[in-house]
């Protein structure tokens, strides 16, 4: 047994007692490498189940990307990579999409893949009893309303002329359909031969998804211990070669993950901005980052705080300094809820930091300085907690009596629904692909709880401009319309936008082929190509 230098006698006496009970253990990084290669990745959140129809937590999307496959996948440079669909074409009027499926592809259990699987997956997604969030992406498919009302069980507009072709017919032009189904870990194709016997009504809570052992992704799941680990093994029937034999997904706190990066037990982990400098110091660990597809923002209750007040409150925040200190520069200032490059006008108002100006704007807007306000958020993420504390300080310094109130997720949602809250915090989201995705939290029709508009921002001119832009098929025509809508939102400060943080990844130098993804939910999109050792 190696001699111990540490002076904690009591702890060591106990440790020695237990150690004598077993052979001495080298740490895993020293394990002989001639056997099957293996890599260990850390999941930022704890997945509960892997139901591709109802993915809720980011970590579930991540894992599903490793065990399932979808028709098409969008890449970081926004081009489309063919997967189960080798090619596709849209009719001139945008009313029909045809997908040509890969031939000779097998499921991980050896059964053949065919258009029947695609039909079953899309019909299950549309089935109201399953309650899949992705069902809205099929809203324009012919027969959707009948399925929704229960009159039909399958989408009449979805047909499979043969085993390798699938045709979607739409009720109105749908140029964005490809982008919708190619985004992240949604609409993953599920094994029809396994699930067709299951009761469709119970699919939403089907225990099969707690350990889905059949898929077409690069890996197949062999074991899942909640709050501990997911064991995956290479899928022999994958459409291309897979670089690593075994993959283990762990669920560690960020501190312990950082510790395991240092000891070499962990090969990939997402790093919180606060720990950036420390992780960069670790030898044999490479730190890469890419802008995330969403942005952090403060949500003011628009029914209590009109636009002029929101503009003033935004001006009171020194966002540049926050980026420099808390994020170590790894974030970009944002002045619009739209992140799709071509949809953002150049002449956005910047609301740059000016405390005294903010105070006068507040007085001009008739803001009630005497009232006490609460800022509710779910604590636990170091950078967000620090940013909010600094922002509250800055608001207090101009006379705004805002105080912190840490709550858990369920309480936050309750206060939003009852509109009792004053300010809250929101982050993440994927808005870089399609400007329409930002409407989820901006348009009046999406006011919570119907949609994600928790700020209750409702502006008729904005909705009109957005609707017009959304219905224009060609991007070159819709760009100016989206920019007009963005101009209105920028003027109204619908959300107090802060910054678009970069998603920072730490990988051990043994892991080859890793490319940083902004959207942490699809960092595994290229996992098949990675190798280790």
């Amino acid at each position: 047994m190696r001699t111990r230098t540490f002076a904690g006698a009591v702890a060591l006496v106990a440790a020695a007692a237990l150690l004598s009970g077993c052979t001495s253990h080298g740490s895993s990084s020293v394990k002989a490498d001639k056997g099957p290669t293996s890599a260990t990745f850390n999941l930022y959140q704890h997945p509960q189940s892997f139901n591709a129809l109802k993915t809720s937590v980011g970590a579930e999307a991540l894992t599903e990307e490793l065990i399932f496959d979808n028709l098409v996948q969008v890449k970081p440079d926004f081009t489309f990579e063919p997967r189960l669909a080798t090619s596709w074409d849209m009719s001139a009027d945008g009313m029909t999409w045809t997908f040509h499926l890969v031939k000779g592809q097998k499921w991980s259990d050896g059964k053949p893949f065919s258009s029947a699987d695609v039909l079953w997956t899309f019909n299950a997604t549309a089935n109201p009893k399953v309650g899949s969030p992705a069902s809205t992406k099929l809203a324009n498919v012919v027969g959707y309303n009948e399925v929704k009302s229960g009159a039909a069980t399958t989408l009449s507009g979805l047909t499979a002329p043969d085993a390798n072709t699938v045709v979607f017919k739409f009720t109105k032009p749908s140029p964005g359909f490809l982008g919708a189904i190619a985004q992240g870990a949604s609409l993953m194709i599920l094994p029809e031969h396994v699930l067709k016997s299951h009761d469709p009504a119970q699919l939403g809570t089907d225990p099969w998804f707690n350990l889905p052992t059949v898929g077409m992704g690069p890996y197949t799941m062999t074991k899942f211990t909640p709050d501990q680990e997911v064991d995956l093994v290479k899928n022999k029937h994958y459409r291309s070669s897979v670089g690593i034999d075994k993959v283990f997904l762990k669920m560690l706190t960020s501190d312990v993950a950082e510790a395991q990066l240092q000891t070499g037990e962990l090969d990939l982990a997402q790093v919180a901005p606060a720990d950036l400098s420390a992780v960069q110091g670790i030898q044999n660990v490479k730190v890469t980052s890419a802008p995330s597809p969403g942005f952090l923002r403060i949500v003011a209750n628009d029914e209590k705080f009109p636009a002029p007040v929101r503009q003033a409150l935004l001006t009171a925040i020194d966002r540049k300094t926050l980026i420099k200190t808390i994020y170590g520069g790894k974030a970009d200032l944002v002045n619009s809820s739209f992140l799709t490059k071509w949809a953002i006008p150049k002449d956005l108002k910047t609301y740059s930091f000016d405390a005294s100006k903010a105070k006068s704007m507040l007085t001009a807007a008739g803001f009630d300085f005497s009232k006490q306000y609460t800022f509710e958020w779910v604590p636990g993420t170091a950078d967000r907690d620090q940013a909010i504390t600094v922002i509250l300080q800055e608001w207090n310094s101009i006379g705004v009596k805002a105080q912190a109130k840490q709550v858990d997720a369920a309480t936050q949602l309750a206060d939003i629904k009852s509109k009792a809250y004053d300010f809250t915090f929101s982050g993440g989201g994927t808005y870089t692909l399609d400007p329409a995705s930002s409407l989820a939290f901006l348009s009046c029709s999406n006011a919570y709880p119907a949609g994600g508009n928790v700020g209750y921002y409702c502006s008729q001119p904005f909705d009109a401009a957005a609707a017009q832009a959304q219905s224009t098929v060609k991007q070159s025509d819709s760009a100016p319309l989206w920019k007009a809508a963005a101009k209105i939102e920028n003027q109204d400060v619908a959300e107090l936008w802060l910054y678009n943080p970069q998603t920072v990844w730490a990988t051990s130098t043994k892991l080859k082929g890793f490319a940083p993804y902004g959207d942490f939910t699809n960092v595994f999109a290229e996992a098949a190509k990675w190798t280790i050792g």
Partner: protein, 304 residues
């Protein structure tokens, strides 16, 4: 043996009376022994220093514990900031003192409530044996074995975490400890002659309880109180780790430690975790030492 007049008993001459030196009133004897016990004396001094620092510190410190300059975040100790600054640029020394005020308030008030309520319940249940005692001791046993921190998390979820809530929940979970001790002492006191004599003389129960029992119980309960203070301070730290402790920006030793629990901080920024760690450690150590000191001082058996 024939009887004879008993020998004349001479009046004992004044100079022959034994001297007064050896007899010291028990109170002063206990105090003298308490001060002579090194551990207790040091404990008392340390506790005094902590209390003074916590009460007067925030007044004399030039920095506001809850407000910091973000540009000066995570600076090591310097002439300006004696204990450096935290992740948001707030002065650590000011925060440790302000945090101490919160942690000690929770600790002492919770202990005070727990001890006073516990003593009364314990004394009464010890005195009125029978059904009342059985029920109370059942409740005591059950409460004693409830995992306090988990209950607090549930209440924090419902009522929202706040200092008053923490104090009430701690007090409601800590009183059984002092109740059990009080009951034990009363059960033994009840058998003693001086209490039975008081009963025979017809003094009312309340008089007996407050004149004889409570004073008899107090020394043992004071010892328990010191341990309760330590318990409350430590529980506050555990609760803030699980996210239900004192609300930022207000500082408490618990949430300061919680903010400092990352490997980066542990390895390279000791001024972020040493001050609250040492503060908790010194307070708990000194309260326990004082508790032990009091126990040894008043324990009659050890006077010999």
């Amino acid at each position: 043996m024939t009887s004879a007049a008993p020998p004349t008993v001479p009046i004992v001459a004044a100079e022959m009376r034994p001297s007064r030196r050896g007899l010291v009133p028990p109170g002063r004897l206990a105090l003298r022994r308490f001060l002579r016990n090194p551990g207790a004396a040091v404990g008392a001094i340390v506790l005094l220093i902590v209390i003074l620092a916590v009460v007067f510190g925030p007044m004399i410190s030039p920095f506001d514990p809850d407000v910091g300059k973000i540009l000066e975040s995570r600076k090591p100790p310097s002439a300006e900031h004696w204990l450096g600054t935290d992740a948001i640029g707030r002065d650590q020394l000011a925060r440790v003192m302000a945090g101490g005020r919160v942690s000690l308030t929770i600790g002492f008030i919770a202990a005070l409530l727990a001890v006073s309520f516990g003593t009364i319940v314990g004394t009464l249940s010890g005195w009125f044996s029978g059904v009342a005692d059985a029920i109370i001791s059942r409740i005591i046993d059950i409460l004693l074995s409830v995992p306090a921190v988990l209950v607090i998390i549930v209440f924090a979820g419902i009522l929202g975490p706040s200092v008053p809530m923490l104090i009430i929940v701690f007090a409601s979970l800590l009183w059984p400890q002092s109740a059990r001790i009080a009951r034990g002492v009363v059960l033994s006191l009840r058998e003693q002659e001086f209490v039975q004599a008081a009963r025979v003389l017809g003094s009312r129960t309340l008089f007996i309880v407050f004149r004889h029992l409570i004073p008899g119980v107090l020394p043992a309960v004071i010892v328990a109180a010191t341990i309760l203070v330590a318990d409350a301070v430590l529980s506050e730290a555990a609760v803030s780790f699980l996210g239900a402790g004192v609300q930022p920006p207000q500082a408490s030793w618990g949430n300061m430690l919680n903010d400092a629990k990352s490997i980066t901080v542990l390895s390279s920024m000791p001024w972020l975790w040493l001050p609250p760690g040492i503060a908790i450690f010194a307070t708990v150590l000194s309260t326990m030492a004082v508790g032990d000191g009091v126990r040894d001082a008043i324990d009659t058996r050890r006077i010999g």
